[in-house]
Amino acid sequence: MTKVNRLAEGRKKTLLDLVSGRRFRTGWKSFIILFFIIFVILPTVWILSYVVTDWSSIQTEVFDKPEIMQVITDAIIASFEIAIIVTVIDIIVGLPMAWIMVRKEFKGKQYLDTLIDMPLAVPTAALGFSCAIFWAVTPDKVNAPDFSLAFITSPFMLIILLHVVFSYPYMVRSLSAILEQIDQTYETAGRTLGASKFTAARTITLPLFRAGLVTGIILCLARSLSETGGTMIALSTMANAGTFETGPTIIGKWKALLSTNPDLAAPLAFVSILLIVISLVLLVVLKLMVMKVRLPAGKVWPKWERTLSRNWVPKLKDGSAIIFLFIFVLIPSFFIFSYVLVSPSAITEWGTFWNALIYSFIIAGIVTAIDIVLGVPMALYIARGHSLKFPQFLDVLVNVPLIVPTAALGYSLGVFWKGVPGIGSLDFVLIIMAHVAFTYPLVVRNVAGAVEEIDPSYEETARTLGAKPLQAFRRVLYPMIKASILAGAIMAFTRSLGETGATLAVVSSANTAPVYIVNLIKADQFYLAAMACIVLIIVSYIFMLALRYVTKRRTD
């Protein structure tokens, strides 16, 4: 061995030794946890402290101004009403669809499978426009195609129809995932005991379903409560939306006015607090309720339930589930394509859009990189320590940014960093931090889920063979979880790319692609907006295909 080689060897060893040392590892672990707490959790809920520090301004600016109070209560009530109605619709139509996907074998099933995920490829900003021109009565300047349905005049109805589109895939996926894990023998056993198909499903499978139902409900509620860009666009596109606002849109609107009207700080904080608190309370209540409350499954009506199990009834049910998918989910998602085909071309300039798109890409890229570097260690810590109290606690905490409506999260984060000199004024950094906060859980959840399924004995074997912890991770664990890391990364990337609410709430003049589209709509540049939407759909679709490819390979 030459001297140089030995020297290199020696240096490499010290570096590896250094990172393998107990002290370094403890330090690194603490850093990861501190990052999570300071950069993700604290900013997310920071606004709650406003209640203590600045109650007096809430008193004067909100409670003493009935017109502001009225706007806030209307918006919050509308938000939760919409979220709850949307979730109920999703359950009713998602359940039969999940049943079809899991329990039925038929030709073309894989196409149906792809179709269900299609709306996920459409950024909500594009969905908002697409849904609005399909369902709603629009002013002449929009130039909606003649064959659009154009009969919805209530903004409340339109937003429900919009939110169903993007929350439906989440519900169907959560329900199918849990249904797949329920042994079909239970139902067969029920039937040998004299229960009709419907009775067996109702009395046995559904009660076993509860955990999956909670996941689906939480995902739907959270997505609906968070959605900003699509909602704003739909409201701006339809005729006579009036003063209708949801929680997130009012945050976006007021945030933009904040520079000229500083009095809005207190109402903004108040709306954010309400959204955060009610969401978290709802989450806890749901978890408790669904676990504790028993569904009233006692009484059985054999004759009626038999009728429901036979002949035309199941066919009608399956048929309606598929018709619903097409009319309420797929056609509204992609109606935008017909718009650019029939409307006269009116492109003024593309430059700003490409700039916005590139800006969005850079942000999404940096956000994803941060998520991976700091999220994967967190996931390992949670997954490998799930019998300990603290990692369990972190596991619960990680979900909080997923539940908190992103507009509220963005505003809270903005307020948190405003006081910090050097950061508070850097729009770019603020946007990245906001996006990290709500995408970080996606990576952690994905990776932690994968790690939990891998037997720790693999790493332990590597350690007994002399590998340092870092080597054991790189050589043994990493190859096994690579696909999940990638899957988490792609989810984080697309979420960041499509996000409007958090961006607007943290920096109202931000210039990301979805925000740019919102602004185009507000400026009546409908054709350019539609084209921009389509570009965004194509880009997202490519990423979704990549995600499918990656996750398929993981399961094979």
């Binding site: 239970y186 040998t192 004299g194 046995i204 059985v300």
Partner: protein, 361 residues
């Protein structure tokens, strides 16, 4: 009354034939075991009786009624699953009361039925526990009680004991037979365990590759198997390859591959026919003369020693000797073996070879 009749029943999955043209009658009150190696189609068969899967061809009759188009829940039968399949969200009593409940019987009747059948399997004290809190044997007993609580006179058991520990399995199979006989229930029991089949059945239907090889009482199948597969699958046996050298009514002479001779009492084949003689280990004895063989292994079995030998005729021969005689034998020792000529059964030598004729797949 539930007599089960299968008429030319087949099940095909594409080109794979799982069950091939089976006709079978199970009489009212009979306990029939469908026995066979895994993959022989026995579970497919019982599932077609239950209506869980539909036959590609043929008809299933229960109590004289054609079951075509009749849903599982209308076939009036009890079914016990291999994986037990107790509803995890219901306690023991609610599991057993499930059948009366889905038939909308009055609440008192539901409770009384649950109590009655739990008493029958002696698990009344477990009533309010969840299935997960019971051990495997208890779970399967509850599942049996649940199937019986349908009040049906036809019980289908799909490998009911396979998932259980050996000891529990032994105890439970006696309970099983005692209960169904006491209740006068027609039973179809699927298993791959020949010992289990022998000890519970009135009649065994032996299946292989989707077809019925043979059926008969356990004793018939053991003492007078009609083919080599049965002789080998039920119990244990030694095969000797040879030819008929001399045929007589009382005693026929068989010549083995090394030229040595063996006498058998019943040989239905003519002189010169290539045959295989089957003799069970308990009918082979060490003697002062006979087949010359060398001991290859000796195994202690508790109540006897199992001695494996290789005869000069290249046939592998196993025999059992009493515990007390164990010390008389050593590996490598040369012995002479005699067979009980009345217990020897002669089969024509299969063209495909012995290994193929007795292979499980």
């Amino acid at each position: 009354m539930p007599e089960v009749v299968l008429r030319g029943v087949s099940k095909k999955y594409g080109k794979v034939v799982a069950v091939d043209d089976i006709s079978l009658t199970i009489k009212d009150g009979e306990y029939v075991t469908i026995l066979g190696p895994s993959g022989c189609g026995k579970t497919t068969l019982i599932r077609m009786i239950a209506g869980i899967i539909q036959p590609t061809e043929g008809q299933v009759f229960i109590g004289g009624k054609d079951m075509k188009g009749v849903e599982i829940e209308d076939r009036d039968l009890g079914y016990v699953f291999q994986n037990i399949a107790l509803f995890p969200n219901l306690n023991v009593a609610d599991n057993v009361a499930y059948s009366p409940r889905v038939k909308d019987r009055p609440a008192e009747e539901q409770a009384a039925t649950a109590k009655k059948y739990l008493e029958l399997v002696k698990l009344l004290d477990r009533m309010s526990m969840l299935p997960g809190e019971l051990c495997g044997g208890e779970q399967q007993k509850v599942s049996l009680a649940r199937a019986l609580a349908t009040g049906s006179k036809l019980l289908l058991l799909d490998e009911p004991l396979s998932a259980l520990d050996a000891r529990v399995r032994m105890d439970l199979r006696y309970d099983l037979r005692r209960l169904v006989k006491q209740l006068g229930i027609t039973t179809v029991h699927v298993t791959h365990d020949q010992e289990e089949a022998m000890s519970v059945s009135d009649r065994i239907v032996l299946m292989r590759k989707g077809s019925v090889m043979e059926m008969g009482s356990p004793e018939q199948l053991y003492t007078k198997p009609q083919n080599m597969f049965t002789a080998n699958f039920i119990g244990e046996t030694n095969f000797f390859e040879g030819w008929v050298k001399e045929r007589a009514d009382g005693l026929s002479k068989i010549e083995l591959r090394d030229g040595s001779e063996m006498s058998v009492a019943n040989c239905p084949f003519d002189k010169g026919t290539a045959i295989v003689v089957s003799v069970r280990p308990e009918f082979v004895f060490p003697f002062t003369s006979g087949l010359h063989a060398k001991i290859t292994s000796i195994t202690y079995m508790g109540t006897y020693w199992r001695i494996s030998t290789e005869a000069d005729s290249e046939d592998e021969v196993e025999l059992d000797v009493p515990v007390a005689d164990g010390s008389l034998y050593k590996i490598g020792q040369e012995v002479y073996l005699m067979v009980n000529r009345k217990a020897a059964i002669v089969f024509p030598r299969p063209r495909e070879g012995i290994a193929e004729a007795i292979s499980l797949e």
